[in-house]
């Protein structure tokens, strides 16, 4: 037994235990030694990357006493307001009706009507699509507009180079040289999967009234494909098919189509006028009245918005 204990540190199990405990391992040890050793003299090729100016610029300002007090007051007020809101929300949550209770106020005749008559009235097999794009299409128009307004706000705040065209050209060249693209592995794989991702997005949008999915989810998938394309192939290739102009035209056309189509259907519906929009045969791809077309419009808006938001935050332009 004693012999076994003596052998333990040099045995495999002992070494494994030690590795678990303190990471005593040839690679680790050499790493630790190398980390403690002074840095080797940098060769010419190992010039460190230039650090962008905005990262090195630090705030060097001595705070006066007043400022310190104000800062403390700010922190205290922020914590107080935050905990007040948290307490308020928790109290409200405790007062909500139980989840799943059949007597809840939400379980009134409206959802019953949606579930029982939804298929017949809207023609959409996917009841959720029937709800958000037919009964409550006005609400969805608002949601698409929220996305559009969000991009507009980001454009106002972040969009750069509105002035000197020469400066813009130089900025773009600079941007291109710092791009992470031009990686052959990423490019090959992206070329393989981007068409599949786009196809899947189109499928989700076009089948929005037949299966789970719709404009929002499909548009997000397609926007992700665009972002991947930009990452893999760089700015110049993306600019061939997607510029700020494309974004403007697609967004405005899609939102305008949505608003006018729903205006027509609301007008005829409210006045009991005959309308050429019919539910059609449920389950067919061309059915459910306006829903597929509204899905396409929403998908376009979401796709462009996703890409535009990414692009604006990345380099300050679409």
């Amino acid at each position: 037994m004693a012999k076994l204990r003596e052998n333990l540190p040099s045995s495999r199990w002992g070494r494994f235990l030690r590795w678990l405990r303190e990471g005593d391992d040839v690679l680790d040890r050499s790493m630790a030694e190398a980390l403690e050793a002074p840095a080797p003299a940098p060769a010419d090729a190992l010039v460190p990357l230039p650090i962008p100016r905005r990262l090195t610029r630090t705030r060097q300002r001595n705070l006066t006493r007043m400022e310190k007090r104000l800062r403390a007051l700010y922190v205290v007020t922020a914590v107080l307001i935050c905990s007040g809101i948290i307490a308020l929300l928790l109290v409200t949550t405790a007062g909500l009706p139980d989840f799943g209770d059949p007597d809840n106020p939400a379980n009134n005749e409206v959802p019953r009507h949606y579930i029982e008559k939804g298929l017949e009235e809207t023609g959409a097999v996917n009841i959720v699509a029937g709800m958000i794009l037919d009964y409550r299409a006005f609400d969805t128009l608002g949601e698409s507009n929220v996305l559009f307004v969000a991009v507009c706000a980001v454009i106002i705040l972040l969009r750069l180079h509105s002035g000197d065209p020469r400066e813009r050209l130089r900025d773009e060249a600079d941007e291109r040289s710092r791009e992470p693209g031009h990686d052959i592995i990423l490019q090959v794989v992206a070329a393989l999967i981007i068409p599949l991702i786009l196809l899947f997005g189109v499928y989700v949008i076009l089948n929005g009234h037949l299966s789970p999915g719709g404009g929002f989810s499909g548009g997000a998938v397609m926007g992700a494909a665009l972002i991947l394309f930009q990452l893999a192939f760089g700015e110049r290739h993306t600019a061939r098919f997607f510029t700020f102009r494309t974004f403007r035209i697609v967004s405005v056309l899609a939102l305008g189509f949505y608003a006018s189509a729903k205006a027509y259907s609301f007008f005829t519906g409210a006045n009991h006028l005959p309308s050429f929009i019919t539910p059609g045969i449920p389950g067919k791809i061309f059915s459910a009245g306006l829903i597929p077309y509204l899905n396409i419009a929403v998908g376009m808006v979401v796709c462009c918005t996703m890409y535009a938001l990414y692009s604006l935050f990345r380099k300050g332009d679409v």
Binding site: G23, M31, A34, L49, P180, I185, L186, I193
Partner: protein
């Protein structure tokens, strides 16, 4: 009998996948630098994904669901090594002295990566 065999085989595959993924997690916490961690995670997660999803396919039987799982494996096998590769490239670019953290066999290779991008 066949059902039990399938169940046992599927469970065995999933346990194997669990072991492999736990190894990856251990590596994440044991290693210090980003590149070593990528080495632990990227090598292991392809095999772990294959074993886990293979077990799920066996448990689900031959149906549309298993076909979808095969597609998931294909997608993850295509994308996950690429993302690890890009992460590694970024880590090499941002590390000033990679030779201090790991064994660099070919110094010119490091320099190449640092010069590009």
């Amino acid at each position: 009998m066949l059902d039990w065999l399938r169940f046992g085989l599927g469970t065995l595959l999933m346990l194997g996948g669990l072991f492999v993924l736990v190894t990856a997690v251990l590596g994440q916490f044991r290693f210090r630098s980003a590149l070593n961690r990528i080495h632990a995670a990227a090598l292991v997660d392809t095999l772990g994904i294959l074993l886990m999803l293979g077990g799920l396919i066996l448990l689900a039987g031959w149906s549309v669901v298993s076909l979808k799982l095969v597609l998931v494996i294909a997608f993850l096998w295509l994308t996950s090594p690429v993302s690890s590769h890009l992460l590694g490239k970024l880590a090499v670019t941002l590390t000033d002295h990679p030779e201090r953290e790991m064994q660099v066999d070919d110094p010119s290779l490091t320099r190449d990566v640092k010069e590009g991008d």
